[in-house]
């Protein structure tokens, strides 16, 4: 196992080469869920318990491996670590190259945490065998995407996520699931078509310059691109990534997909899959086309800010709780985009940590909403009232998660948003100012929704079980076993449900109170990225027209130490 060092720019050798061949953690991360999926496929359909056990064992195993990766990870070092490199198709220059750095580390961990949670939250559904199979395949593909250092390998995994998600949404979703799944699929697949062409074009340009056919992003980062080529390739990549994220004008598939997907599907779509898009932006757009990023940053920043405000306003008028969270997700992705394109070390660190945070609290919100749906069979806010009378614990957890989502200090949402906004304020003041308004809007729609659903006098139907009330629809719904909910009041959270949510709640608080270990590991990579972007952009436009990014780095660094000591 060699700790290969070059992240961006020329290959630098440091003393990190450990020499001995260690356990191939990253390959195991990708292959364990895939192997378990195949195992599940071979199990008889009737053995539900065995299927579940295998699924959980695999997910937990992955979490264990991810924890080991965290333990092995050297902080204070910016490049890829724990590389595993194996040539695959020599003719294409395609290789199985996996590596983890500060940017991908926590996304991998988040993925490893969210999959067991999603699996647990979706377990009572019909046909657990197929469900487990697709979830495990999806986990393999998501982890593969985050860990790929080979551009084609990334694309392979990126595309491989589509089929499991299509199957999950179309197979286990709500009423309009077929439409939502098809829309999701067509949108994202069509958009990624541009990315594949972009990848091939970039590799071709690199090959014509160096004579080497490779998809390795460490080498491709050194490609010299003309101005128009840079911008076009940036657009080709960003088209795919922005649809996946989704960034404002490309978001129209997401409310449908998020709200029609089953709970586990929403958790994975919003929590993990959306991050594939933003991760791709930071990894590929910033790493490969820094020149275009600097040039087009105002456009993307504007889209991000529009997303924040638009998402917030549309969320505020939603009557459907799940669509509300879907639109709030659009706003949060907007924050991440602002952080990415503000191009300061601080805002980038904030964006990375915000990706993780958003995954955690959005997942928790979707699971909570699914619990409400299981009891009452509706997502409609007007049909919910006074839930906290009969379910105070659930109301409490909901409040905590909601406050994290709003960005209240002390919870994880604050850390990311603060870093993003303060970082963006340095370079793009007015965008940051408008974006800050989004925080207020977030408070408006979430508190509003909370008030409607949890405060007030409980609806008579919810207590007595009226014939035409939400209970009626709930019992008509064939999916969740509503059981004795008809006569009983709104049920409190069970132990099992609490156990599903517990890891998320713990992490939300932990990351809010003590984000320093996370930031310590993210920052070196981010700084290296900023330096690379800076030098690459400078190399092409000597007069950058505004102060270099490094000058901000010092400010950002100072601000970060303050932030960390806060």
């Amino acid at each position: 196992m060699t700790l290969n060092v070059s992240a961006y720019g020329p290959i630098v050798s440091t003393g990190l080469d450990s020499g001995q061949r260690a356990f191939p953690y990253l390959t195991a991360l990708v292959l364990v869920p895939a192997g378990a999926a195949l195992l599940v496929l071979l199990l008889p359909r009737a053995r539900v318990a065995v299927v579940r056990a295998v699924g959980f064992a695999a997910c937990t195993g992955v979490l264990g491996i991810a924890a080991a990766v965290l333990d092995e990870f050297r902080s204070g070092y910016g490049g890829y670590q724990m590389m595993s490199e194996h040539p695959w198709v020599g003719a294409f220059g395609f290789s199985w190259t996996l590596g983890v750095d500060g940017i991908s580390l926590f996304l991998v961990l988040m993925t490893a945490v969210l999959f067991p949670v999603a699996l647990a939250s979706g377990m009572q559904r019909r046909d657990p065998k197929s469900f487990t199979f697709w979830v495990l395949l999806l986990e393999s593909a998501c982890l593969g995407s985050f860990l790929s250092v080979d551009l084609l390998l990334f694309f392979l995994f990126f595309e491989a996520t589509l089929v499991p998600v299509y199957m999950l949404v179309a197979g286990w979703g709500h009423e309009r699931r077929g439409y939502a799944a098809a829309k999701f699929f067509v949108y994202t697949f069509a958009a990624s078509a541009f990315m594949l062409v972009g990848i091939l074009a970039l590799v071709f340009i690199h090959q014509s310059q160096t004579g080497v056919t490779t998809f390795d992003i460490r080498q491709l980062a050194n490609t010299r691109l003309s101005g128009p080529a840079n911008v076009l390739l940036f657009c080709a990549f960003t088209a795919a990534l922005a649809v996946k994220a989704p960034v404002f004008p490309f978001h129209t598939w997401s409310p449908d997909a998020y709200s029609e997907a089953p709970a586990a599907g929403s958790v994975l779509l919003a929590g993990v899959m959306a991050k594939l898009g933003t991760y791709g932006i930071i990894r590929f757009d910033l790493g490969l086309f820094p020149h275009a990023v600097v040039e087009l940053a105002p456009v993307l920043l504007t889209l991000g800010v529009i997303g924040i405000i638009y998402g917030g306003i549309v969320a505020a008028v939603q009557k459907d709780l799940k669509r509300l969270v879907a639109f709030s997700s659009l706003a949060h992705i907007g924050f991440i985009v602002v952080g990415l394109f503000a191009l300061t070390g601080e805002s980038l660190s904030g964006a990375v940590i915000q990706m993780v945070n958003h995954g955690l609290y959005t997942a928790a919100l979707f699971i909570l909403i699914a619990m409400i749906y299981e009891r009452l069979g509706t997502f409609q806010l007007p049909k919910l009232r006074g839930l906290q009378h009969s379910a105070p614990v659930m109301a409490g957890v909901f409040t905590l998660v909601m406050l994290a989502s709003i960005g209240v200090p002390g919870l994880n949402g604050f850390v990311g948003e603060f870093l993003i906004l303060s970082g963006a304020f340095l370079t793009h003041r007015w965008w940051a100012v408008v974006a800050t308004g989004g925080v207020v809007v977030a408070a408006v729609y979430l508190l509003w929704a909370y008030q409607q659903a949890f405060h007030g006098r409980p609806l008579p139907a919810a207590v007595s079980g009226g014939s035409d009330g939400p209970i009626g629809t709930g019992s008509a719904d064939p999916g969740p076993p509503t059981g004795g909910a008809k006569a009983a009041p709104f049920r409190e959270m069970t132990w099992r449900e609490g156990l599903v949510l517990a890891p998320l709640v713990v992490l939300i608080v932990l990351l809010g109170v003590y984000p320093r270990p996370v930031l310590e590991r993210i920052t070196p990579t981010v700084n290296q990225l900023v330096l690379h972007a800076e030098s690459a952009a400078h190399a092409r436009i000597p007069a950058l027209g505004r102060p270099g990014l490094t000058s901000y780095l010092h400010v950002a660094g100072a601000a970060r130490t303050q932030g960390a000591e806060r």
């Binding site: 198709v89 199957m167 077929g178 439409y179 098809a182 091939l200 598939w253």
Partner: protein
Amino acid sequence: MIGLESLRGLQGALLGAGGIVLPHIDYTAILPELILLGGMLLLLVVAALSPRRLATEFYATATVGIGIASLVASLVLWKDVVSHGPFTAVAKSLDIDGFAVLFLVLVSCVLIVAPMLAVGYLRREGIEGCEYYVLALISGSGAMFMASANDLVLVFLALEVLSLPLYVLAGFDRRRAASSEAAIKYFVLGAFSSAIFVYGIALTYGATGSTNLGQIAAFLARNVLTSNGVLLGGVALLLCGFAFKIAAVPFHMWSPDVYQGAPTPATGFMAALAKAGGFAALLRVFVTSFPTLRSSWQPVIWVVAILTLVLGASFAVVQRDIKRMLAYSSINHAGFILLGLQAATAQGVAASLYYLFIYAFLVLGSFAVVTLVAGRGDDQHDLSRYRGLARRQPVLAGSFTVLLIAQAGAPFTTGFFSKLYVLQAAVAAHSYALAAVAMGSAAIATFFYLRVVFLMYSGSAPVEAGVSPELVEPGAASLAAPALAMAAPSGQALASGLVAAGGAGVEPAWAKRSGGGSGASGEGDGAEPPGEATTGVPETPLSSSPWTVAGLGICVGATVLFGIWPEPIIEFARLATTIF
């Protein structure tokens, strides 16, 4: 006296220096073809002389044996070509190079797998006898000659040898009117296209003074034609003839009807073989003979490729008959293979070869599954028959899933690398827009492949009210897409058009369904007996014939194995192109 004189003159004319000289025939160079034809004759003789009817399994075994023998002969030839370089044979009318040998190997493989997949069908339908295998062998030899032909006249002869048995195979199931109809359609249109092709040969000969591909190329390299209208006309007509064989838009009209009507195993065979043969000759003729005219034919191929890609994928979406859907999907595949030709580079040709190789297995396997699902009588091809297939026949459904997602280009199957390879070639030739359109069409294609997969895995248990609404055809949307494509030449606009159409168009269809459902043709009927899609003929279980299991196993195994480990075939295709 005079009579003797003239007789001697005739003799002199026949044997003398200026008369017909029988060329030296290098039999080793045509050994694979000879094995096929000899084996075919042997089969016929055995069938005629045997006192009682021999079982279809006997003929299948013999055909597989012949296929394996020709595969071995082809591989020996491959070794020869690799060590000694390409050579021409039989008075330069055959060019034995890596390119040709790759097709010899491919055709041999098809002839090994296709009989295995036909046995179950022939037994089920009670069509005993050796005819199917004999026709397949003749057709295979035609495809082989087509790949190695170095003379336009031989290309034409090989084309006919390839096609005539296919016309018969299309009408092989005499009891079904659809089968005869398909045969007539195929024959009439095929004969028409052959006539066009011959006219193309004549014009080319008129312009260049030769029908030999090498000599045509040499002539064009040496001479600058001041007015090359005749030559261009000839090239255009040749292209028409080829485009018919490979079912490229706008010469694709026959293919859905023929695919639908022909007996299903014959359809698979036809799709694999006719496409391979057609593309073999097309690639060779255009890349070796007319490289100097590249600037003239490349834009035409560009347009044809775009039309083929987009129309193939779009029309497939609205099909309810699985065979028609696969027919349109094969048109889409033809568009992808055309990308390699359009690039007109060694990489492009290698990519096309690789694609053809991979595609043969995919299409043979897919039609084998369709054969089984259709059940006795071979006319149950509605998509609704696939509902809940996974419940009834998990292995069959799993195999079909692999084959379909491979056709869609899913990662970790052969389909991904084949698409990647042609796209890489297109990008390297700076055809960015074409590459983007191709990927856009792949997106549409993936949608209809996945629809079938989803149908198979949607449980036979009633699934709430909105039974897989994605089955409701977003026809309007998809038909709007090509219109947009034609209006906007740039790939960017096309794909955004697709997105818009995909997003906006599906909604009305859904709304229509939830409103009344009457507009959704047929889906309502399919959904009515939930789980009991097998109302009429029961589908044939996979286990009914070990032959089918073996054949399908080869197809699926190759798809997965070479999807994860694509190196050997890619290297094969690359080498085949370098020894050109």
